[in-house]
Symmetry: C2
Subunit: 282 residues, 2 copies
C-alpha cells in the first residue's frame, strides 16, 4: 500500500457518531432489505426445486433444458442461453452483498465520511474481515437446501485471486462454505479476466448446468449490461430479458455501492415527469 493512499485516508478522521447514510441504513439495518433478501433466496430455491422435480419426472427432456448462462455470442436482443446436456447442476453466486455483508468494511466507510473508495483498504479487508462479515439473511438456508438437493454452489466474485484463501475462510466462517479456488470459487484474475465475469461464467458452464444465478450487480448475470443508466434500465426491462428475473436470475438489493449508483438529474428524472410545487400557498 502506498504512502499516498495512507495519507489520503488519514485526511478523513474517524467520526464515532457519524450519521449513517440512507443506503447503509437500508441495506444493513432494515427489515425491508432483509425481506428482499429472503424473497430472492426463497424464490431461487423454489425455482430450482421445481426444475429438478420436472427433470426427474421426465429425464429424457433433461438434456434439452438450458443454462442460466448466456452463450458467448448472445446479445441483449437475442439472449440465447447455453445448452445443459447432462452436466451436474449448479447455482452460481456473486459473493459481496449477495451472500456476504461486509459489515466491518462498511462500518469503516460510515465512520470516515467523505473518504473515497480505497482499493488498498479493500484488499486489506479481504484478509482482515474473515470473521467480521455476516451472511445475507436467507443465504445460509438457501445454500444448504441447494446442496441437499445435489446442486453444487459455485462462487464467482471480483475479490482478488491473491486473497483466495482468505475468501474461502470468510465463506466458511459465515456458514456458506465450502469454497475451493479453481473448483467452486472463481476470482478476479482467474483466466486472465479483469472485473468482467463472462469468461469465468463460460468456464463454469463448461463443467456444470447452471440452473440459476444470484447477484447484486447486473454484471453478475452478463457483461452485456453497459451504457447509460437509462440504457441499462431499458435493457433489463426489454421483452427479451425481463422474463429472466426471478426465474433464472435472482437479484439482491444493494444501494450502497456499484454500477447502480450513477447518474445526474437528467439520467434519473425524465424531462416530462418533473414537478415543483406551486410558488404560493395552497
Amino acid at each position: 500500500m502506498s504512502l499516498v493512499t495512507h495519507r489520503s485516508y488519514t485526511g478523513y478522521p474517524m467520526v464515532a457518531d457519524a450519521e449513517v447514510a440512507p443506503g447503509m441504513q437500508f441495506l444493513y439495518g432494515s427489515g425491508e432489505a432483509a425481506a428482499l433478501d429472503h424473497q430472492a433466496y426463497n424464490t431461487l430455491v423454489d425455482a430450482v426445486r421445481r426444475r429438478l422435480a420436472s427433470e426427474k419426472a421426465d429425464p429424457k427432456a433433461m438434456s434439452d433444458r438450458t443454462s442460466a448462462v448466456l452463450t458467448p455470442d448472445a446479445t441483449l436482443d437475442q439472449p440465447e442461453t447455453l445448452p445443459c446436456g447432462d452436466r451436474p447442476r449448479a447455482v452460481v453466486f456473486d459473493v459481496d452483498e449477495t451472500l456476504l455483508l461486509n459489515l466491518g468494511f462498511e462500518y469503516d466507510d460510515a465512520t470516515h465520511p467523505g473518504a473515497p473508495y480505497d482499493e488498498a483498504h479493500w484488499l486489506q479487508w479481504e484478509q482482515a474481515g474473515v470473521d467480521r462479515v455476516a451472511a445475507v439473511p436467507g443465504a445460509i438456508a438457501a445454500v444448504n437446501e441447494l446442496r441437499t438437493m445435489g446442486v453444487t454452489v459455485v462462487f464467482n466474485t471480483n475479490r482478488s485471486a491473491a486473497n483466495a484463501a482468505f475468501t474461502e475462510a470468510a465463506l466458511d466462517h459465515a456458514g456458506l462454505g465450502p469454497a475451493k479456488h479453481g473448483e467452486t470459487l472463481w476470482l478476479k484474475g482467474d483466466l486472465g479476466s479483469g472485473s468482467g465475469k463472462d469468461s469465468r461464467r463460460q468456464a463454469i458452464a463448461a463443467r456444470y448446468c447452471v440452473v440459476a444465478m444470484g447477484g447484486d450487480q447486473l454484471g453478475d448475470f452478463s457483461d452485456l449490461f453497459t451504457g447509460t443508466p437509462q440504457q441499462r434500465r431499458a435493457a433489463v426491462s426489454s421483452p427479451a430479458i425481463r422474463g429472466m428475473w426471478g426465474r433464472f436470475w435472482f437479484v439482491l438489493p444493494n444501494p450502497v455501492y456499484g454500477t447502480a449508483l450513477k447518474g445526474g438529474l437528467d439520467d434519473v428524472f425524465p424531462a416530462d415527469k418533473r414537478w415543483t410545487p406551486a410558488a404560493g400557498d395552497k
Copy 2:
C-alpha cells in the same frame, strides 16, 4: 397549507444541477432496481398462477387454502392467516414506490437539498402529479396478467381519502387502473384508520381471498412490524415469518424514504463486526 410551511420550503432554493442522492440513483435510475422490480412481479404472478392451477385441479381443497392476510389476533411469533373459503381471489398492492414511481415529487426533493419532508407538498402532489408518475417496471404487465386470470387487483395506500379521485386518475394514467374508492381502492382515513393498514386489510379480506400482497414497506404486509431496526430485521427473518417472502408477500425496493431508513451506527453495525484499517502502511 400554512404560511409557515411555505416559508420553510422557500428557505431551500432550487438547485438545478443538484447531485442525485444514491438512493434515488438506485431506485429511479438503475437497471439493478428495475431488475428487482421485475423479479418481484414475475414471482408474484407465477405464484398466483400456480395457486390457481392447483385449486382448479382440486376444487375441494380450495376452501382450505388461506389468505396472505394475518388474522386480527395474529402475532409475529404465531402469524396465523385468515381462511379463504370460496371468496373471489384478489391481490392487494400498496401504491407509492410499489406500483407507481413518484418521479415529479422526488425530482422536486432532489433539487431542494436539505429541505425536510413537507406533507402539504405531498398532498399538492397527489393532485398535480396525475400525469407525472410512472409505473414501476413490470407492474403494468403483472396487473394485466392477474386480471386476465380473474384475480381482482386491490389498492391499499396511505394516500389521502380526500384526494381519492386524483389517485384513481393517476393509476389510470399510468396504465394500472381501474381503481374505485371504497371497492378496489382503500386510502388513509377509510374506516377511521390512520396510517396503519390492518383494519383496511381486514375489510378487504372479508370480501376477497387475498392470494398475495405487494409493497415496499413492512407495514404493507402487517402493522405488527414495529420496534428498533434490529427488532424489525429479526422479525422479518424469524422462523415463523421468513417463509412468507416471495411466496405470499412480495417486496419492492425503496431506499429513498420510509421505515427502512432509520438507525445510527449502533443500530446498523453490530459491535462484533466493526473494523478500521491498520494505522500504518501495509
